[in-house]
């Protein structure tokens, strides 16, 4: 924790808009996802054994170069920032596309970036992740908040439950009391058991290590710092995915209620429904400001980043869930069907509200950071 001189230091003014480059990136990602991850495709994929479409990942990671946005060019990446990665996540949220972007290109990548200063195995692995040739995940439960990453094993022996995207990862970054290890998913003594997830578009798995071998990437202290950095970036940019989810849900609900007639008029003309959608719109524009603020604070390395991330997570989790719940309700019966994609968004939104710390956990972080202590 950094020293604080006054209770409410005023942050530098963040840039909360989108640059033209960011809008261009958005267009490219959106076009790709419209082509490769339309709702029927995503629904079909959730029932397949391999939920992730390798061609989609290759096009996103390599074709667009999204996997390496956070990685400096000298390490094989695009040398962009969290602001651009956030835009990719908005689009991935909008399409609930199954892709290990958040886990590999953000959390694992950011963890390794903390360790790649003097080359070595972390830098080498970063290059592979940046190119999209391989993916990695941080082997901690998906619900782990950034401020409390104390889920480490003692050694490379034991079980870690509920790791997002572990089932599709090539490499597992395992924090232990001895430091951070990179363990190949195929290494002897490493077993990845898929779980049945609430969110069918983001697989969860349990990792069991039985005296496995791995490459030591960092000593314990550096490991803890790197893991915290990875989780902070994950939580901060998850807010952009939640924004994308909420936007899709609002847009589709507005579209549907304009077309759907009951009582001889569009149901969207009833004030009781209009007010709910207007309220949701207000939440979405607010979520955008909060998510952009977190992305900008991470991108600029602002000392305000932990608070910006905690605020964004405390707010955006609820907005995404609210939007998805309203989407199901205002679609009426069709919102309850398997073939309409509303359920995918509800499942993703609810799972996201737990990922990297619940809203309540992040409010506790806010209390700590702005000195509003509990009784």
């Amino acid at each position: 924790m950094t020293a604080r001189t006054e209770p409410q230091p005023q942050p530098a003014t963040p840039d909360l808009l989108y640059s033209q480059d960011e809008e261009d990136l958005r267009s490219a990602v959106r076009a790709l996802l419209a082509d490769r991850a339309a709702a029927p495709t995503v629904i079909a994929a959730t029932e397949a054994d391999t939920p992730y479409d390798p061609r989609l990942w290759e096009a996103l990671a390599t074709g667009i170069g999204a996997a390496g946005l956070l990685v400096p060019e000298k390490l094989g990446g695009q040398g962009a920032s969290h602001r651009e990665a956030a835009v990719v996540l908005e689009e991935l949220g909008r399409s609930v596309a199954p892709a290990p972007y958040l886990t590999s290109s953000v959390v694992a990548t950011e963890t390794l970036l903390a360790l790649a200063g003097d080359g070595g195995p972390a830098a080498a692995l970063l290059g592979e992740l940046a190119s999209g040739a391989r993916t990695a995940v941080l082997a901690v439960p998906f619900a782990t908040p950034p401020a409390d990453p104390a889920a480490a094993l003692a050694t490379l022996d034991g079980t870690v439950r509920g790791i997002a995207d572990a089932a599709v990862a090539d490499v597992l970054l395992v924090p232990t009391a001895e430091g951070l290890y990179a363990v190949e998913a195929t290494a002897p003594g490493a077993a990845v058991e898929p779980l049945v997830p609430l969110d069918l578009t983001r697989p969860l798995a349990t990792l069991t290590l039985s005296v496995a071998t791995g490459t030591l990437l960092a000593a314990p202290e550096a490991s803890a710092t790197a893991v915290e950095r990875g989780l902070l970036a994950g939580a901060g940019l998850l807010a952009s995915e939640q924004l994308g989810i909420a936007e899709w849900c609002l847009t589709e609900t507005v579209r549907y209620t304009r077309e759907r007639h009951q009582f001889n008029r569009p149901v969207g003309s009833f004030q009781a429904l209009k007010h709910r959608m207007a309220q949701l719109w207000l939440e979405v524009v607010s979520a955008r400001a909060a998510a952009r603020n977190a992305a900008d604070a991470l991108a600029t390395g602002s000392p305000d980043a932990p608070l910006a991330v905690a605020v964004a997570q405390a707010y955006c989790s609820g907005v995404a869930v609210h939007a998805a719940e309203e989407c199901v309700q205002l679609h009426g019966g069709i919102g309850m069907t398997w073939e309409h994609p509303a359920h995918l968004y509800l499942k993703r939104a609810k799972a996201d509200s737990i990922a990297y710390g619940s809203a309540g956990t992040h409010r506790e972080a806010v209390a700590e950071l702005v000195e509003l202590p509990a009784p």
Binding site: R265, P266, G268, S269, A278, V285, A314, V370
Partner: protein
């Protein structure tokens, strides 16, 4: 077109103004008049009317420079209705003579304005208004009653909408006037409110004579003119940057830090939720401001009033509860007539009661939600049965 005025040129002109009229030795009103005449009052207004046809975003640089020099300001809180509503309407619809006559004393604060719009029978349904204006030679004769009129007791002028043709549907028979509040037919009576004070008034209009030269816009087009006023009323946010904990969350957060004996687990949870929402609302306002500066105004402005109204009510409600025994007390019920509109002043009980008006004044939250739903989201309007009916035939 005037030559483009950029930030550097505005800074130069601001320094010239300060050099010619040193704030320390210049009378307040004289300084403000000189500032208006230098075009530094509202830089986006035309030359000769207090501006320089410069981009609106450059005003902040001028204001900052003048504040740093401790120059007197024109206290926009006191003259907020004139600045925020009358001025843009006069600029948009007034004759050259009206603009020259009214804008300078309005901006300087020599003449306070009020707004005679709402009536006892026409609040959210403002176009149903019943105050009549009947043509009599060169004048109009006005009879009716207005309500919720802040500053009427201090005002020199009022913007007024009145019905000039009851045979037309309600939106079409309305005209827009500038009303002299000192006319003997204008009777301003304090309207005591929930807080105990009388910030608002009832205004009774009996045989008030308004010269036709004080009409704004064509006869019968008053509703269109009023839209400009109302849009400006709702876009009052956006100019200035709000610091973290800058709004109502500030006092309650300070109380929390300074008085640990008041803390409970329940109030802690609620405080944190509201702190986060206040911070997000601040960021949303900041994003809106950045959009305006970048020349991409978004529709978010209409939503910000909704957010702040709800937050102010919830935060001030929590504050009263947090104070416990002290929350049972109230500062002062004496009826006063405040000079300023004051949302955040006085004590927690006052803030709690005053904030109830935040979701009513300037458009109720329900009406604003309809506006967002229909104009931003494009949802269909509810069917209505009053559009093609003559005003005189509507049920009241």
């Amino acid at each position: 077109m005037s030559p483009a005025v950029d930030a550097a040129e505005l800074r130069r002109r601001t320094r010239d103004l300060l050099a010619a009229h040193p704030p320390a030795t210049t009378d307040r009103t004289d300084f403000l008049k000189a500032r208006f005449d230098a075009g530094l009052a509202w830089v986006h207004y035309p030359e000769g009317l207090g501006g320089l046809d410069a981009p609106r975003s450059l005003q902040q640089a001028v204001d900052a420079e003048l504040a740093a020099a401790d120059a007197p300001d024109n206290d926009p809180r006191r003259i907020g209705i004139g600045l925020g509503m009358a001025a843009p309407t006069i600029l948009g619809f007034g004759t050259d003579e009206q603009k020259r006559r009214f804008l300078r004393p309005l901006w300087v604060g020599e003449e306070v304005w009020c707004q005679l719009f709402s009536e006892p029978g026409a609040g959210s349904d403002l176009a149903a208004l019943a105050t009549r204006a009947v043509r009599d030679g060169d004048d109009w004769v006005v009879d009716g009653q207005k309500v919720w009129t802040s500053s009427a007791h201090a005002a020199r002028w009022a913007i007024l909408i009145a019905r000039t043709d009851p045979d037309l549907p309600k939106h079409r028979g309305i005209s827009y006037f500038i009303c002299d509040v000192t006319d003997p037919g204008v009777d301003v009576r304090p309207l005591r409110q929930i807080t105990g004070e009388a910030e608002f008034n009832e205004v009774f209009l009996s045989g008030v004579r308004i010269p036709d030269s004080h009409r704004l816009g064509p006869v019968g087009e008053g509703w269109k003119v009023a839209q400009t006023t109302l849009m400006n009323e709702r876009v009052s946010i956006g100019g200035s940057r709000i610091p973290r904990e800058g709004g109502m969350i500030g006092p309650v957060s300070r109380t929390w830090r300074e008085r640990p004996e008041l803390r409970t687990h329940d109030t802690h949870q609620r405080l944190l939720t509201l702190w986060v929402e206040a911070e997000v609302a601040r960021l949303t306002g900041e994003r809106l401001r950045q959009q305006l500066v970048a020349g991409q105004p978004g529709p978010e402005g209409s939503g910000m009033k909704l957010a702040f109204a709800r937050l102010n009510q919830q935060i001030s409600g929590l504050e009263v509860e947090l104070l416990g025994d002290e929350g049972l007390l109230y500062g002062d019920w004496t009826m006063v007539r405040p000079e300023l509109v004051d949302f955040t002043g006085r004590d927690a009980g006052y803030r709690y009661l005053r904030s109830k008006g935040n979701s009513i004044e300037g458009g109720t939250s329900e009406v604003l939600l309809n506006i967002v739903a229909e104009r931003v989201l494009g949802l269909p309007a509810e069917p209505r049965n009053d559009k093609d009916v003559a005003w005189k035939d509507l049920s009241r």
